[in-house]
């Protein structure tokens, strides 16, 4: 029997107070996510239960009980407090998926500061714009990432402390760099947790848009109410489960459902800090006896590509529940998972801005492979007409996916950019930026984004950011970036460029430009394909018509070109 029982039962008389009651939360009370994820679980008699099973490079294994993570959160919180960090200061976590990343998340929240997790593969430019925008005071990192930070630290006057979690005495430290080795620190047993309230900021995740710089999505401690219940009902986590969320906490899935959801439920979770290979993943599932697995379509399609034979080499009978997030899960992947794992992946749809799952498939609900599922109880989801922003319910008609504001995990603003935040609402609806249709049974069917943002492997990449970075390369005169279809990642970045005089197209130059973007922004943003052009299509006013290039890549109708420069 699943936690939700049935979808019909879940939506009947639904109220978010269900979650509040289970968490013993009352309006106006203190609510601190880190306390709920560690101290409260210990008080419930699970102090000795495993909270984290970690496996890293070279076979390194570590285990932490809920009491261990409570103490680690205290110890890190105390260290930050001693540095003078206070509530609402921004503390960036810039680490690989090592235990310190997860434990620092708790430590930062315990002092009421705001966690700013950033993907450790980000290059210096991506890191700089996000730290500058958030006016981050502290960054917690590993030695291996220091070189990127050292290149930009002089341009970041707000950045006062760079904490290194694996410092070696043989290495010299530079200005503002502070060593902190958790294993050498004296554990702090009693710690005064900052009394955050429902609207106190908690996590700041950055997301990309079509234009402008990335936006900092500001979440609050009350988001726990949604994250707790969606984890319980959709991921169906039960007390004896061993859970694996494959997402990096640099992205929202890795915090909402890779830290907050499972730990607030007192569930043991596993972290594998290694690169992807089918064998490594299957071996990990078999070894840790993972029962609930939350992953992404890109990973699932990569596993499909690795073939069925390799699955048979491992005992994966421990798996009882599978779910997926990041981009639409194609029907073939669902059919495949049923064939090889004897379980279907449940597709879940939500965004950085929504903070928790919004439209989803549920345990015990009939799955229509390829569909996004139905709205979570308490979530009012609708399709809007793109011109009038009025909701409609005709089956099969494509519209903008929108939500009535008010669910607990909804973002509260974009950091330093409330104007952009306001633009996300029309007629009282939050606009997701995605399109879908709905069928007669109320299932949503994703059709695509409503803007030019590229969804590659479940991560959003801004074409504007890549275009701007391309222009910084000495050979590039003009650039236009669009999504290109890809079998595994759904979309990848494709760049069209014109060259400055004196440069000739060549494979060597293509490689140099690819590596330039990879190091400056991130591997995700690196164009997987670069096409040299004599000129880019532009409007008569000189604006590059990305739409034409996108249509070319996707084999679509080009549409109205009456404003094209050369027509």
């Amino acid at each position: 029997m699943s936690n939700i029982g049935s979808y019909e039962k879940g939506i009947k008389n639904f109220d978010w107070s269900i979650s509040e009651k289970e968490l013993d939360y009352k309006d106006g009370n203190t609510i601190n996510i880190a306390w709920y994820c560690s101290d409260r679980i210990c008080q419930m008699g699970k102090a000795d239960k495993l909270a984290l099973i970690y496996e890293g490079f070279g076979g390194v294994e570590k285990e932490y009980t809920f009491n261990d993570i409570r103490l680690a959160g205290n110890t890190i919180g105390a260290f930050l407090r001693n540095l003078g960090i206070v509530q609402e200061d921004r503390v960036c976590l810039f680490m690989d998926r090592i235990p310190e990343l997860y434990l620092s998340f708790l430590g930062v929240l315990k002092i009421g500061a705001i966690v700013q997790p950033l993907f450790s593969a980000f290059g210096e430019e991506s890191l700089f714009v996000r730290l500058e925008n958030a006016q981050t005071r502290v960054i917690i990192t590993q030695r291996k990432h220091l070189s990127k930070i050292r290149k930009i630290v002089d341009k970041l006057p707000s950045l006062e402390h760079i904490i290194i979690v694996d410092h070696k005495e043989s290495k010299s430290l530079q200005k503002n760099e502070v060593p902190f080795n958790l294993e050498d620190a004296t554990p702090v047993e009693d710690f005064e947790i900052f009394p955050t309230k429902a609207n106190s900021p908690s996590v700041l995740h950055y997301t990309s848009g079509t234009t402008g710089q990335p936006k900092g999505v500001r979440h609050v401690h009350y988001s726990l109410i949604s994250q707790y219940l969606t984890t319980k009902w959709i991921l169906d986590l039960q007390d004896n489960d061993i859970y694996w969320c494959t997402a990096d906490p640099g992205w929202v899935t890795g915090t909402s459902y890779g830290i907050i959801g499972p730990w607030s439920l007192g569930i043991t979770q596993c972290v594998l800090n290694s690169g992807f290979s089918a064998e490594t993943w299957y071996k990990f599932i078999e070894k840790q006896r993972i029962t609930v697995w939350y992953s992404a379509p890109t990973a699932i399609r990569s596993l499909m590509k690795a073939g069925d034979e390799i699955v048979g080499k491992f005992d994966l009978s421990c798996l009882r529940h599978l779910a997926s997030v990041g981009e639409p899960l194609n029907a073939e992947a669902i059919v495949w998972s049923e064939k090889v794992f004897n379980k279907q992946f449940l597709d879940t749809y939500w965004q950085t801005e929504t903070g928790s799952m919004m439209i989803t498939n549920f345990p015990d609900m009939k799955i229509k492979p390829g569909s996004m599922g139905k709205a979570f109880p308490g979530i009012e989801a609708a399709l809007l007409d793109p011109k009038t922003f009025e909701p409609f319910d005709e089956p099969g008609r494509i519209g903008l996916i929108a939500f009535k504001p008010g669910w607990p995990a909804m973002m509260t603003t974009y950091w330093n950019n409330n104007e952009k935040f306001e633009e996300k609402f029309k007629n009282g609806w939050y606009l997701s930026g995605d399109r879908s249709s709905i069928d007669k049974d109320g299932y949503f069917w994703f059709t695509g984004r409503d803007d030019d943002v590229i969804n590659t492997g479940g991560h959003l990449v801004s074409p504007f950011e890549v275009e701007s970075a391309l222009l910084e390369h000495e050979a590039v005169s003009e650039s236009a970036v669009v999504a290109k279809p890809d079998e595994v990642n759904m979309e990848v970045v494709k760049a069209f460029i014109t060259l400055k005089p004196g440069y000739e197209p060549s494979d060597e130059l293509e490689l140099k430009i690819m590596n330039f973007i990879r190091k400056k922004l991130s591997p995700l943003a690196m164009p997987q394909d670069i096409e040299y052009m004599d000129s880019l299509p532009k409007t008569r006013s000189g604006k590059i018509m990305r739409r034409i290039l996108h249509a070319k890549e996707w084999g679509e109708e080009i549409g109205d070109i009456s404003t094209l420069e050369d027509e």
């Binding site: 490079f57 990432h145 070189s147 800090n273 690169g275 290979s277 492997g457 494979d507 490689l511 990879r518």
Partner: protein, 81 residues
């Protein structure tokens, strides 16, 4: 042969290793070890094609085939005349 191994190893060290203390050998797992991610694999493929003047079909450029310098050398050798 030795030269090819060293060219590839040197390229991987220069382009993908963030930590100058990390040491990799011809057998170090590059993809499953997390040194080269799946997105960056594309740039490694372009490097091999450009450097050794070959064309590697996508279905041959798998994470397994790219998982060590030795594996890559074996793959490249298949496509060199």
């Amino acid at each position: 042969m030795e030269e090819m191994k060293d060219i590839i190893l040197q390229y991987v060290i220069e382009e993908y290793l963030e930590d100058d203390e990390e040491e990799i050998t011809y057998d170090t797992p590059l993809i499953s070890g997390g040194f080269v991610d799946s997105f960056s694999m594309v740039s490694l493929k372009v490097f091999l094609e450009t450097k050794f003047k070959i064309s590697l079909p996508d279905d041959k450029a798998t994470p397994e085939a790219f998982d060590s310098v030795n594996n890559i050398v074996n793959l490249v050798k298949e496509f060199i005349d």
